[in-house]
Amino acid sequence: MANRLLEVEGLAKHFRGGGNWLSSGGDSIRAVDGVSFSVEEGETFALVGESGCGKTTVAKMILLLERPTRGAISFQGKDVSSFRGGSLREYKRLVQAVFQDPYSSLNPRMQVLDIIGEPLRVHQGMRGRDLRMRVGELLENVGLNPVTASFFPHQFSGGQRQRIAIARALALRPRLIVLDEPVSGLDVSIRAQILNLLVDLQRELGLSYLLISHDLAIVEHMSHRVGVMYVGKMVELATRDEFYGNTLHPYSNALLASVPQPDPDVPMGTTIGGEVASPINPPSGCRFHTRCPIYLETNMCREVEPEWREILSEHLTACHKVEPAVV
């Protein structure tokens, strides 16, 4: 088994809704409610789900942009919350991010040299000729001409901006890059360029990716393992081949059936009704029971939260209807 790079154990984030520090606010929003998974060295782990499922909040906690309410994140076997000073800096060097919107992720007032150079300046105090060399090299790595280092972000198209964002993430030779919907802000013809670039970089540099996406076709193309989230909970986790070949959870099935296939001869599958449940007052028992097509009429699904268990080797799910094949 590969080396475990990042491990997330029982991670939860509850936001206090409404109110401020004077009034103690309304209901808490359980954005993430006990999520566990790991990212191995050199692999792409994909977190899939619809809006409000908490996948972005998980990413933010890993990037230390949000503090977990419960649970632990460990990196290379060490608890991230214990990192201080030097070890914290080291974590911030090894974990980088690329976000969805290439227009918002680059400071419009900075030249590309300063954008890509920022991590190098902050961490390595690099400056002058060294900095320019390294930035030039990084620009070439992502397929841009080094002379563009003197340009400002508005002089680039969306795809080129995303390349700059990737170059910035690569600057410190990280181990893990969190990719939050890296291509959904881009044109169709540009997406392939960026996806291919990410795959190439992973192969060359042995990077690990945590891919946050709602696009199941992209996830199938990019990932090695997949985790599906629904209203703050993980409902299924499996290797890519297992997930796409032997889907267990009814929600995962519904997600797969909902994707309109770019082939007129493959009709659209049966989708599910209802709305994505709200994390403010999540349904009792299994959170998916309100939309579940195979929902048991017994009180089981409505009252008892299904156990998160391994059904097949390396294939976990939380559903009352699925029986373990191996124990």
């Binding site: 198209s157 013809s189 992209i218 199938e220 193309h221 994707v259 309109p260 994505v276």
Partner: protein
């Protein structure tokens, strides 16, 4: 001349079931220093009850084509410079603004991308859906309400009697988009323009919405124009596809034909560059370069700088329309020279 007469007759009988015919439409943006050719000679037609896709990337002119159909191009700045838009027997571009109003929201409706901004937050949903009924059907009171309820029911909004009195913020994204659709459909339009109506929706909600539109279309025989960059939606929802690039339709054909045997290198590249579920490709086909800047569209075929099969001819002259039988056509020197 009997042959000519026969041809004429044939054309007329075919014209009968054509709802919308666009001929050589050009919509330009006039800027201080440049003219942006957003739509540059677009021709296509939509038959009665047919679903037609307009596919393209940002800047391909698909949205501007639709706004031109409704004569709603952004003012000031943009202008329809040339072309004809025949809706049944009437040229929409020759109508007065007054006459046009009878079409907009009545005989043709539009559902836009963002349900957030298509609804006015200060009016109840009932009031907004009733608006076109009052305006175009001149119905009021009980009669109008009954029609509003019918259309809310038609878009499967649960408990419409209750939802009628609520405000847009009390609806989820998917439900809001249904309300927008209901607004468009109350007057039973002959043509529905769906401008990326599902981009802001979740996958399962998108699937529900697509299903809904398809059913409504089958029930009422409404024609639909789908504007999208999502090749999956086109494959599932459309009978015909028009692929747009840099303000022109580069290929047009029946969905099956195009997905099986795309003729234009751009169409082929688009289809190959999207990851396809179930078929694992080591590497995605990659279209090099960027979509063209409308201020400086390359000479000749605008796709040549990105085309792997570009020839010298492509850089000089825009390829003519090559018919592929029936209504299908392509603009590419490869096919033109090949025959």
């Amino acid at each position: 001349m009997p042959a000519r007469a026969l041809e004429q007759m044939l054309r007329e009988s075919k014209e009968d079931d054509i709802l919308l015919r666009v001929e050589g439409l050009k919509t330009y943006f006039f800027q201080r220093s440049a003219v942006l050719k957003a739509v540059d000679g677009v021709s296509f037609s939509v038959a009665q009850g047919e679903a037609v896709g307009l596919v393209g990337e940002s800047g391909s002119g698909k949205t501007m084509t639709c706004l031109s159909l409704m004569r709603l191009v952004p003012q000031p700045g943009a202008r329809i410079v040339e072309g004809e838009i025949w809706f049944k027997g009437d040229n929409l571009l020759e109508m007065t603004e007054q006459e046009m109003r009878a079409y907009r929201g009545h005989r043709m409706a539009i559902v836009m991308q963002d349900p957030q901004t298509s609804l006015n937050p200060v009016y109840t949903v009932g009031e907004q859906v009733a608006e076109p009924v009052r305006l175009h059907l001149k119905e009021r009171g009980q009669q109008a309400m009954a029609r509003v309820l019918d259309s809310l029911r038609a878009v499967r909004i649960p408990r419409p009697e209750l939802r009628l009195g609520q405000y847009p913020h009390q609806f989820s994204g998917g439900m809001r988009q249904r309300v927008v659709a209901a607004m468009g459909l109350t007057t039973q339009p002959e043509l529905l323009i769906a401008d990326e109506p599902t981009t802001s929706l979740d996958v399962t909600i998108q699937a529900q919405f697509l299903r809904l539109i398809r059913e409504l279309q089958q029930d009422s025989g409404t024609s639909v124009i789908w504007v999208t960059h999502d090749l999956g939606i086109v494959a599932q929802m459309c009978d015909r596809v028009n692929v747009m690039y840099a303000g022109r339709i580069v290929e047009s054909g029946r969905v099956r034909q195009i997905y099986k045997e795309p003729q234009h290198p751009y169409t082929r590249a688009l289809l190959d560059s999207v990851p396809l579920m179930g078929t694992r490709r080591e590497k995605l086909y990659q279209i090099e370069g960027q979509p063209p800047d409308l201020r400086s569209i390359p000479e000749g075929c605008p796709f040549w700088p990105r085309c792997p099969e570009a020839m010298d001819k492509c850089k000089e002259q825009y390829p003519p329309r090559t018919s592929l039988g029936g209504e299908d056509f392509v603009h590419c020197w490869l096919t033109e020279e090949g025959r």
